[in-house]
Symmetry: C2
Subunit: 333 residues, 2 copies
């Protein structure tokens, strides 16, 4: 295992030092417990948004803290849920009295710990609403979940619900919009290579020299099946067909198409996949109105990609386009 780290048990702490050094002008980094918080939090009158999860998926979630998106992120150790005390501290740090939305990817540890944090925050008088993401159509139950895994749509929930909160919408409204994004979004991913967690030092799964895994999770959890590596066109079709079948799209529907890199795949290849996604979406009669291509929810250095489609309506489109000012997603600001 070769990695740009100092020690396998200091990976998250050292990366947070880097985040503090790079973005300390607009983010506050806490080391006990780990938190990345908007420097101006709590924002008066605004609903707070927090998320969190295991590290190793950067820029998710810490890269999305800032105006128009998250108020705070709670990083756990690599591929390990953060703890309830982190989530509680973040909840309190961002609550202006308007309440706090927890955006939670559907993994058992994350769900349990966020539930506990919500209960504790509630006992302290903070109103909390939870938005669960479970957009991965690959498998129903998996290694770390009951039900579907939360993957690419999480980025879109954070952006769109974040803009709704920034626009002054109420706790219930922000949560409803976040749930709508999750309900109208579907994802599926694949891997060309496994990833290696710093603590384990060995690949998370095995793939032959000519094999890919279809339906992979963002922690290297098993997917639907392995097969011989095909063309980008074949892979795009493998991922897009289950997505389209799962969410009843109608011809003429407007969508946001998101091609996400797993961390180790060149942008050049992601654009090749995007070309195929655009072609296939057109064949289904879908109108791609917005797109996102790049590494936004990753799995360390895994090579591969995921595809997310989100059905748009006027409101979601307006909030997607709204200004955002975070380390990893920035426009209009």
């Amino acid at each position: 295992m070769k990695k740009l780290i100092n020690a396998h048990d200091r990976v998250v702490a050292d990366a947070l030092r880097g985040v503090q050094a790079a973005h300390g002008d607009r983010l506050r980094v806490s080391f006990d417990p780990y938190m990345i918080v908007r420097a101006d939090a709590p924002v008066s009158g605004k609903v707070g948004l927090i998320s969190g999860g295991g590290s190793g998926h950067e820029p998710l979630h810490g890269g999305y803290v800032g105006r128009g998106m998250l108020d705070a992120a709670c990083p756990g150790e690599v591929f390990t849920s953060p703890t309830p005390d982190q989530m509680l501290a973040a909840t309190k740090a961002v609550d202006s009295g308007a309440g706090v939305v927890h955006i939670v990817k559907n993994y058992t540890g994350d769900v349990l710990n966020f539930e506990m944090a919500a209960d504790l925050a509630g006992a302290d008088g903070v109103q909390v609403e939870t938005v669960l993401t479970n957009d991965d159509v690959a498998v129903e139950d998996s290694l770390y979940t009951a039900g579907r895994r939360g993957v690419g749509v999480t980025v879109l929930v954070e952006k769109i619900a974040g803009a709704a909160a920034e626009a002054g919408r109420s706790l219930q409204e922000v949560a409803e919009i976040g749930r709508r994004v999750n309900a109208q979004g579907r994802s599926m991913g694949m891997a060309l290579t496994p990833c290696i967690t710093p603590a384990s030092g060995h690949p998370s799964f095995e793939l032959g020299d000519d094999e890919v895994e279809i339906g992979i999770g963002i922690h290297g959890e098993p997917g639907r099946f392995k097969e011989k590596a095909g063309t980008a066109a074949q892979i795009a079709e493998r991922l897009l067909t289950p997505i389209v079948e799962d969410l009843p799209f109608s011809s003429g529907d407007r969508v946001l198409a998101f091609v996400n890199g797993m961390g180790g795949t060149p942008l050049l290849e992601l654009y090749i996949v995007y070309a195929e996604v655009a072609r296939l979406a057109g064949e289904h009669g879908l109108r791609i109105e917005r797109n996102l291509v790049g590494n936004y929810i990753t799995s360390l250095e895994m090579q591969g990609c995921s595809i997310t489609l989100l059905k748009l309506d006027d409101e979601l489109l307006e909030y997607w386009d709204a200004p955002v000012d975070t380390p990893a997603l920035r426009w209009g600001a």
Copy 2:
């Protein structure tokens, strides 16, 4: 070799289809010859900026076409110089009469072809100024260069000279500013793994399981030496010391610090490296006023990083902060 491609001889054409599908609202993509051009080019009265080079370094250069940065990019095949006819077509496409700046990384093929294009454009009445980037302190001459290689500083030249052009500065002024950025910037890179070009199908060089290469180029050209993989702190010191020694920095100087990923390294690790760079820069008495952390000039799926330091002055800082609206770099717009 496993890659998200359709065929090794269609990689660039297919990726350009993806760029067209994703960004066709603001970029024009030409397939004969390959060009990515601002949709509103030529911009009346504005100096045009073009760059180009082999593909495989994305988002460089095509990801930097847009308001406040490049007017056009000419992608060659992977790690292969574009041709003079591409550069000439791009030059003519962006010339509003105010002249065109060619930003050229110092590789023999790129330099010769851009020179020929400049001559041909001149014969057609287009004024061209060339800004050569040669910021890599690792080696003096190398596999593809006489003199130093152009690497990370190229991104900064494109941003800062692009802002100067957008602000209405003259051809000579824009070129002078670009040359100043190159003169005040230094870079050095390292690799944990080689990359594989689609055409060759095998790694560009060999590295042992516990080895890294210090001073590597962006095409996998040999660096200064191989050594046993050290910590992120040691690697940052290996790269930063030659940079600081080469450019006479004075204590108290203001700098932009840029930690760039080679394409296959997780953002988590780049922030760990950034923490070390910030610490070391502080020890040298440098004041980091701006930073950039991420994959901006890559080498396919190579794992590793490069560090660039740019000495800032008020003018460079103003143009760095100016709005930019491109697929890969976007703020204030």
